[in-house]
């Protein structure tokens, strides 16, 4: 067991344990904060896969953006003072069946392929320069579409979240 494997298991355990807390915790605040650790663990896995730019992007956007947004959502939609931020679960049995089917399928796929699946890894140089070049050449159209989507989402979210105001006739 080398250092690479050890680090992988550390990050995998962090990711999966905190994802368990996200899904099974009764308290929304606990869920939100363990989602933080899930995102950090996934960023660590990205670093192990030599995706340095994506790891930093993950921390900046998920932890700095999406998670803060979700915490705002929790704070704005629950009466935090009343300490009534618990939440229940519904449909546990159908969900267990669904997840068992999905997990069984994935385990079956794993059982039939795990001996042969990609043992040879390639070594990538630092990825930021080549990612930028790819975004400006081969992926230019999706890049522009993504920027328009971001603009539309910005305007749409601002319009939707605003309180309804009487418009002057």
């Amino acid at each position: 067991m080398q250092l690479f494997d050890l680090v992988f298991y550390v990050f995998a355990v962090i990711t999966i344990v905190s994802a368990f807390i996200v899904v099974f915790s009764k308290n929304i605040i606990y869920s939100a904060f363990s989602l933080l650790f899930t995102f950090f663990g996934v960023a660590g896995l990205y670093v192990l896969l030599q995706a340095d730019f994506l790891a930093v992007t993950q921390i900046l956007i998920y932890v700095g953006g999406i998670l803060v947004l979700m915490l705002f959502g929790v704070m704005l939609t629950n009466k935090v003072i009343n300490v009534d931020i618990k939440t229940g679960t519904i449909q546990t049995i159908p969900a267990l069946i669904l997840v068992a089917i999905v997990a069984g399928t994935l385990a079956g796929l794993f059982y039939s392929t795990w001996r042969t699946a990609g043992s040879s890894m390639i070594t990538l140089p630092p990825t930021t320069t080549s990612l930028g070049e790819m975004l400006m050449t081969g992926y230019l159209l999706p890049f522009e579409v993504a920027s328009i989507i971001l603009l539309v989402a910005l305007i749409g979210a601002a319009m939707t979240a605003r309180r309804n105001r009487k418009v002057a006739p």
């Binding site: 979700m70 519904i90 971001l150 979210a157």
Partner: protein, 117 residues
């Protein structure tokens, strides 16, 4: 189809050498947990957290395949677009959740069943 002890021996010999399948297993567990969260949670924000878990699982898959195959960086570009769309989705969905809260005073998805008051 090998017998169970042989499988177990091969499996324990395989376990300490991290390969592509290890990353895929972590991603599969994350996907299943996110799916469970989406289906069972009452609170709309926790449903959104489940969606984020599922998207992260997909991203791990994309990046793992971009390292362990000849795809090179194409998988990482796809992962960038997934992150962009996740940010859009979170912003829009939270705006909708705030609106639902203002109208119904609750964000439990099983109680919000009317399109109109």
């Amino acid at each position: 189809m090998s017998s169970l002890p042989t499988f177990w021996n091969e499996f324990t010999a395989w376990l300490p050498h991290v390969q592509l399948a290890h990353f895929l297993i972590v991603s599969a567990i994350l996907f299943a947990l996110g799916l469970y969260g989406i289906v069972t949670r009452k609170n709309a924000i926790l449903v959104l957290m489940g969606v984020e878990l599922v998207l992260n699982a997909a991203n791990i898959n994309l990046i793992a395949f971009s390292r362990y195959s000849t795809l090179r960086l194409d998988g990482q570009v796809a992962a960038i677009f997934v992150i962009i769309l996740a940010a859009c989705e979170a912003a829009i969905a939270l705006a909708i959740v705030l609106n639902i809260y203002h109208r119904f005073r609750t964000i439990n998805v099983d109680e919000v069943s009317n399109l109109k008051e």
